[in-house]
Structure formats: structure tokens, C-alpha cells
Amino acid sequence: MSFFLSYLILSAIFAILALSTNLLVGLVGIFSVSQAAIFGVGAYIVAGLTMHSVMPFLPALVVAMAVCAVLNVLLALPSLRVAGDYFVVTSFGSQLVATALFINLVFLTGGASGLSGIPAPEILCWKAVLPWQIAILSIAALAFVSLMFWLMMRSPFGKLINAVRLDENAVRAAGKGVRSTKLVVAAISGTFAAIAGGLYGVHLSYIDPVSFDIHVSILILAMMVFGGARTLAGSILGPLVLLALPQLLNLIQLPSTSIGPVRQLIYGLLLVLFMLFRPQGLLGKKI
């Protein structure tokens, strides 16, 4: 597959993930490091359903969206129930437990070896087999998700989400629901991650637990922080730049064992430095 097409497809997939994180972390203000876990659940559901010919791609995606919506709502519940930072613990915990589940529930996920032979998506009569077809599918999905994001931002509900982030008690005094707002956003965020998961599976025809571990969550977070929170442009720029990073690193002679750590070091640096010096990212609003 042409490198450029692969980069384009992955950028679209991660832009969808960045938008998912943007909703939860950027807009509502709930800390989350479990985006990759939901991404993974979506991927495994779509892969599993299509591989065993239970249903075609789109219905499988809808199932995944529903499951991931519910899952994300459950993960968001601790951030409502008690004050304090318990939800930080549950976010880390759920991501780490999810990875353990992906590795150990072999009969469902193929274990550490993963699932291979994920079939090409068939939508009505069109089968997206060739890379450029997958690229079109991914970009169409990104366009759809972007539209949803944009519509939400300019609606009364969008204003409410912003208000919840700014001052929950003032929102309660307005007669509006803080809890329900957060849960709805968590649900929508989950559906976006599911879409990204389904696409990821058909792009690579193979998925494994490593693709959905906590380091990926950090990468997605770094993309959102770098590109900027609460804007569409930020969630598209972030992935475009950070996915190009490995290529740039290849230009430097690094020992092979250090490549991964160097990348993660850069993500970590991005997170700290941007919070310190540019919390709005390149194209976003202040976190």
C-alpha cells in the first residue's frame, strides 16, 4: 500500500479518535486515559462480527457504536458519583484492565496474537478492497463525525456542555442537568471511538492488543493537546502532525530499541510543555 494512503487513512482514524477525546476531555473536562480501550472494543466487535459473517460492516459498526457508547457511559460514572479524583483511578484502571482482557480472553480476541484476516468492508454493493477505497471510506467517516461534532458545538446543547466544564453549580442553578450532560457526551464520544475502531480493523486486516494499550491513549491525548482542544481543526491537525513524527524520527539514527521510547518521550514532552506554555494547542482553546 502506498505510504501516503496509509498515512491518510490513519490520520482520518486518529482524527476521529481525537474528536472523541476532544468531546470528553476538551469540552466537558473529564480526564481520560481509556480512549484506546474503547477504540479496541469497537475494533474487536466489528472484526469479530464481520469475520464470522454474523453481519456486514455497517450493521457491525452500529452494534459497536452502541456497545462503546454504553461502555464509555459506565466509565464516566465515577466522575459523577463522588467528588475528588477517583475517576482518574478508574480511567487508568479500566484501560489497564481492558488491555488485560484483550490479551487474556483468547477465545474472543485471539489473545496476544490478535485477529487476522478481517474482511474488507462491504457497504450495500460496494466492497472497499483497495487502499484508495479504504481511504475514501475513512475520509467519509471523518466527514460524518466532523459534521456531528460541528452540529453539536453550535447547538444549545453545545453551549450547555461548555457551561458544565466552566461551572457545574452555576449550571445546576440554571435548572439544567450536569450529570445527564456528561453522560450523553460520554456516549457520543464512545460512538466516535467505535467508528475509528471499525475502520482500523479493515485498514490493517489485523488487530492486536498492543494497538489499544495505554500508550495509544496517551498518543491520542497528545494529538488533542497539540492540535488544540474544542476545535475541529485542532483534532485534524494533531493526528496529521503526530503521525508524521515516526517518519521524521527515522531520519535520525536511533537504536531500534529506543525508537518506541523516544516517540513516547516526545508525546510526554508535548503534554507537559503545551500545558505549561500553550494550553490551547496550535488551533484550539485553553484546557
Partner: protein, 288 residues
């Protein structure tokens, strides 16, 4: 069978004391400053690697631990001054601080992975493996180091916070940061103090546990997860609670090894935590 179970419990007790050190240092910092300092796991890792590195240069283990504690104390102060204090001054949101802390964690973890190795490493110290026998239970010298240092540090921290002026200041700031600010208790000085103490303690924990088991760049977060569960279940601000619950969780995890494979341990602990926050979110030893 009883001997086997007893061994598991003893091992769990030792591990629990080690995690207890992580927990008491975390609760000291968190209760005083209100910052959920996930980078604490990074200092744990740094401590382990600094101690390891020094022992590979033939520094005696005890000295290596002390040096590692000193290094992490300084590293912690740097984080406090350069990151947290700065973010406080710019009125950053708690979310921004969490993200920054996460970034620091990733920087620290990956720095050691790059400078040393991303793979498992073990302390080269010769006497590590030596074993003593207590009844039906075998404990390695390394385990004794963990247990010994853990209990000593726990006692010392309790004494410090209860009996010294500095400790009293810390407790005052922890119980009411706002009041502390306006009555000139100078919370930021206190924050530096607790960061220094917490970082030194967690470095020793990293070195000791690493000495007993092995060191890896990315397992710090797993240890911190269990520790923070203990902190919350024990009641934030309760050093005893954090320590006791850490031991309880580890012993429980080990006891269930009889029926549940080790790779599910984290899931079990987490499930317990979820049950706990649903039923009794304020903690078992909460005194606030």
C-alpha cells in the same frame, strides 16, 4: 497446602508493605496539595533505575538507595517548581495539571528506557537471593529489605507528621489550604516539603521492590494504581489507612492466586475498587 497459602500470604505482606510506601508517600502529597500527582509513578521508576545503575557501578545497595532517594528528592522538587507551581500561578485547571503530570510520568519512564533499557533488568547484587526460613515460610533477603525499610519509613513518617512542627504544618495545610494561605502558613513552602519527602520515600520503594523483583520502565503506573486505590479506600490523608489497605489488597491478591491466575490480579483489585466506590466512597479511615 497450608504452607503454600502461608507463603503466598507472607509474600503478599511483603509486597503490600512495598506498595504501602508508594501509598503513604502519595497520600501525603495528595492530601496536602490536592494535586493528583500521577508523575509519582515516574519518580518510583526513576528511583529504581538510579539505585540499579549505582549498584552496577559497585556502589553498595544501601548507599545506592540513599543516593537514589536524594536524586528523586531533587527531581521531585524540580517537578513541583517547574510544573505544578507554575501551573498554579497561571490558574491552570485541575485537568491541565493532570495532563501535565501525565506528561512528566511519560518523560521519566521513557528517559530511563532510553538511557538504560526498555527491557527487564535485575540488580546485580550478590546477596539478593539469600533466603531465611520462618517456620513454613521462606523470605529472601530482598524481601526483608522491602519489609524492613517499609516498616521503618512508615513509622518515621507517622512520627514526623504527628510529633514535629513541620509535620503539624503539613497537617494544617492539608486540612484547610484556603485558611493556610491567608494565615501565612505559606502552603507553597509546605508543598515543596511534602514533594521532597514523598519523592524520597517512593524512590526507596522503587529501589527496594525492584531489588526484590526486577525493574521495568512501564510498570510504575500499575503499582501506583494499586497504591492509589489503597489511598482512597483508606481515606485520603490517612497514612495508616493507606498503609494498611495496601497490605490488605496485596495479601488478598496473593490469596486469590490459589483460584485465579496471576494475570487477573489487576482486574480483581480494580473490581474491588469499583465495588468500594459504589458502596463506601469516603474511605474506611477517613478523618476529614
Amino acid at each position: 497446602m497450608a504452607g503454600f497459602l502461608l507463603q503466598l500470604l507472607a509474600d503478599g505482606l511483603v509486597t503490600g508493605i512495598g506498595i504501602g510506601l508508594v501509598a503513604i508517600s502519595f497520600t501525603l502529597y495528595y492530601a496536602t496539595t490536592g494535586t493528583f500527582h500521577v508523575a509519582h509513578a515516574g519518580l518510583y521508576t526513576l528511583g529504581a533505575y538510579m539505585a540499579w545503575w549505582l549498584t552496577t557501578m559497585s556502589v553498595p545497595f544501601a548507599l545506592a538507595c540513599i543516593a537514589a532517594a536524594a536524586i528523586c528528592l531533587l527531581a521531585g522538587l524540580l517537578v513541583q517548581v517547574l510544573v505544578y507551581d507554575r501551573l498554579d500561578r497561571t490558574d491552570a485547571s485541575p485537568l491541565a495539571k493532570l495532563i501535565a503530570s501525565l506528561g512528566v510520568l511519560y518523560v521519566l519512564q521513557n528517559l530511563v528506557a532510553i538511557l538504560f533499557s526498555p527491557d527487564l533488568l535485575q540488580f546485580p547484587t550478590a546477596w539478593r537471593g539469600g533466603v531465611i526460613q520462618l517456620g513454613e515460610v521462606y523470605l529472601s533477603y530482598a524481601q526483608l529489605v522491602v519489609a524492613g525499610s517499609g516498616l521503618v519509613i512508615f513509622a518515621a513518617l507517622m512520627a514526623f507528621t504527628r510529633l514535629t512542627m513541620a509535620g503539624t504544618r503539613i497537617r494544617a495545610v492539608a486540612s484547610n489550604p484556603f485558611l493556610a494561605e491567608i494565615t501565612q502558613l505559606r502552603p507553597h513552602r509546605v508543598y515543596l516539603m511534602v514533594m521532597a519527602i514523598a519523592s524520597a520515600i517512593v524512590a526507596v520503594a522503587g529501589a527496594a521492590i525492584g531489588f526484590d523483583q526486577a525493574i521495568q520502565p512501564y510498570t510504575g503506573i500499575l503499582v501506583l494504581l494499586v497504591a492509589t486505590i489503597a489511598v482512597i479506600a483508606g481515606g485520603i490523608g490517612s497514612i495508616t489507612g493507606a498503609f494498611v489497605i495496601s497490605i490488605f489488597l496485596s495479601v488478598l491478591q496473593n490469596a486469590t492466586l490459589v483460584v485465579l491466575p496471576g494475570r487477573w490480579s489487576i482486574a480483581l483489585t480494580f473490581a474491588l475498587f469499583i465495588a468500594f466506590i459504589v458502596i463506601r466512597p469516603r474511605g474506611l479511615f477517613a478523618h476529614r
